[in-house]
Symmetry: C2
Subunit: 80 residues, 2 copies
């Protein structure tokens, strides 16, 4: 079994209204000095097998096809 | 300026229908050997100041109050 974490974040320049809303919320709660918030997604996967290199390749394909929208998002795969 | 990454994940035992749907999607796309998928959230914050310890404390408070639902979610703060 291989555990991996995929992190998907918006590319620079892509507007993030959700992040902006969180910024507003933090400020409304009295938190000062928050300059920017950008929200992304994280996927914790468990895949069968023992070959970390193979798993990483396969997970990268999953990102390209389903987990990330590569037009507006970056992704990174980390084998744990 | 301090950059930090907050990762919010569901606690063990909490059902994750979104993760299950992604599992189904991956399997429908022909990806085999995916045992489980759990989805979480990531927040990239930029806060003012130079004191990483203070920033980490402040961001932990933000997590407790807004970013995470500590009943069902765990969070971790990483200063980048």
């Amino acid at each position: 079994m291989i555990k991996a974490r995929v992190t998907v974040t918006l590319k620079n320049g892509v507007l993030d209204p959700q992040g902006k809303a969180i910024e507003g919320g933090l400020s409304a709660l009295g938190f000062e000095g928050v300059d920017s918030v950008r929200q992304g997604k994280v996927f914790d996967l468990t895949v069968e097998g023992d070959d970390a290199t193979m798993a990483e390749k396969s997970i990268s394909k999953m990102c390209e096809k389903l987990l990330a929208n590569t037009v507006i998002e970056n992704y990174s795969v980390e084998i744990l």
